[in-house]
């Protein structure tokens, strides 16, 4: 079977972001960009499934501006077989991305779609669910364990839900979104980075896929969150208890 993996290029998770002075967004020029951590986990899972012999091909997909090819190269260096870049210069909301993925799925016919549970820039946590809805495929979000039974075409997935772990069983084809604890993504080695240069990245546009991009959301402004007042460093437990009792009055 074939696995399609969605990967997004985002500001690196370790970067302390800056809000633009004109409040139009967050500064992304001259900032280190990387593959979204949850997408790395999704790709790693797809590669492990292929290495266990249960999948033939892993295709990495990214939707966004020209620089997304860097992210896809990283994915190819990790071990993806080939990549598809749907190029679109401006911001896309999850609904449009989901429509693009639906069109790709119709063309590529994968048996499994793996995505991260959320991108760490917009923190939406929507795309996987929306793709599953559009495709009328079953979904398992926040996966921390995925077991495939190739014979029965069934995936058993442990999900991280409020209050514990839930186990679901899905008929393939299905959409699975990954949580942090699913696996530890591998690093791309130098030989694999070199090899990735000869792998194919197919370029498409939303028009090629007959997807009309429209938006029903408008960002009015982006601001910094209110700063917390600087606190005090105390010297003893007694002082702390006294402050909590008599100043903050919380105990």
């Amino acid at each position: 079977m074939k696995i399609l993996v969605g990967v997004k290029r985002v500001v690196d998770y370790a970067v302390k972001i800056r809000v633009k002075p004109d409040k139009s967004g967050v500064e992304t020029s001259n900032v280190k960009m990387s593959m979204n951590p949850f997408c790395e986990i999704a790709l790693e899972e797809a590669l492990r499934i292929r290495e266990s012999g249960r999948a033939k091909e892993v295709v990495a997909v990214s939707v966004g501006p020209a620089q997304c090819t860097d992210t896809l190269r990283t994915g190819l260096a990790m071990g993806a077989d080939r990549a598809i870049h749907v190029e679109y210069p401006a911001t896309l909301y999850p609904l449009s991305v989901a429509k693009i993925f639906k069109a790709l799925v119709d063309a590529e016919k994968p048996a499994l779609l793996l995505l991260g549970k959320q991108a760490i820039d917009d923190d939406c946590n929507q795309t996987g669910q929306m793709i599953a809805g559009l495709l009328k495929w079953p979904q398992a979000t926040f996966a921390s364990k995925v077991v495939l039974d190739e014979g029965n075409k069934v995936a058993t997935v442990d999900r991280e839900v409020d209050g514990g772990l839930e186990t679901l069983s899905l008929d393939l084809p299905a959409v699975i979104t990954t949580d942090l604890r699913l696996n530890q993504p591998r690093y791309a080695t130098l030989p694999n980075i070199m090899k990735a240069k000869s792998k194919v990245i197919k370029k498409l546009s939303p028009q090629d896929l007959n997807v009309e991009i429209r938006s029903d959301l408008e960002v009015v402004q982006v601001t910094e969150p209110p700063k917390r007042q600087a606190g005090v460093i105390l010297s003893s437990v007694d002082q702390l208890i006294d402050r909590l009792k008599n100043e903050a009055r919380v105990i």
């Binding site: 923190d123 939406c124 669910q129 929306m130 599953a132 839900v161 029903d216 437990v237 208890i241 903050a248």
Partner: protein, 354 residues
Amino acid sequence: MTIQALLGSIRRRSFATRVAHSSRFLSTLVLGEHKGGSIEASSLCAVEAAKRLGGDNSVSLLLAGSGPSLQEAAAHAACFHPSISKVLLADSERFTYALAEPWAKLVHLVQQKHSYSHIIAGSGSFGKNVLPRAAALLDVSPITDVTEISGSNLFVRPIYAGNALSTVRYTGSNPCMLTIRATSFPTGMAPASVSNDKCIEKIDLSAFSEDDADGKSRYVSISSQDTERPDLANARIVVTGGRGLKSAENFKMIEKLAEKLGAAVGATRAAVDAGFVPNELQVGQTGKIVAPELYMAFGVSGAIQHLAGIRDSKVIVAVNKDADAPIFQVADYGLVGDLFDIIPELLEKLPEKK
């Protein structure tokens, strides 16, 4: 010239009527989660958020499930919140477990019948799982984790792990779909004692046709960590341990301290990854968001992903032996020292609760 002016005024007037229209007829569907016969706190916070959309908003609560626990939850809901004008009930075996596929289809069905202006869910694992799927079926963009409602279509939500706040306007067609951050919409309301079961309405599920997604996902099991401590997301005091605790054995000190304070226990990603505690205790961008009156962090360095989950706490206390730990930049009270000395001392000196 005059024609142009006339056209302009018509355009302006039709715009004005449209706006007035939309603000006059607000009707909101809240997706209700229930457990053991009562409504989850996060769903009541969603009702609270619905109230803030506008004055004349009529709020319906959608409950799905099967059997007596659903009926009990419905009876509770009807009298629980004065803002709920109607409880819609979907009673069917296929809703015994809250699976996204039938739920999203149910929301789609109910929306087609009642044409709500807004659909809201709490942004717990249930709301985040179901609402975007339902939004895709309705072809609208949902808005995640709303922390502030500035108008019936103007919302504030955190992005980049809470390091920026984005104000978004929804310009699409009805319904406008939101998940809300429960800690931003506290209910603080005692349940009314009168039951009002007149407003419970059963949903006709005959139109709920079998389609492609039906039965393709099945519930297998759930393993939950049952504790007697208060729920992490709603606790008044939260005590959190990080990597500095060094072992699961040592983490018990945090639990002891929490017990003494009547607090919930939280953990950082590092503590969860190291296996000190189960993952549902994780606080941060990818875990739970908390906003207690008192947040105490022991052996927590204060990574941005963690701070994203505690930013709105009223009082933050940090205990860490590294005086340069970023947690001290947000802490109201800091103690630089060894937590293995400080926690026992706190246990000894803290007053007994009550």
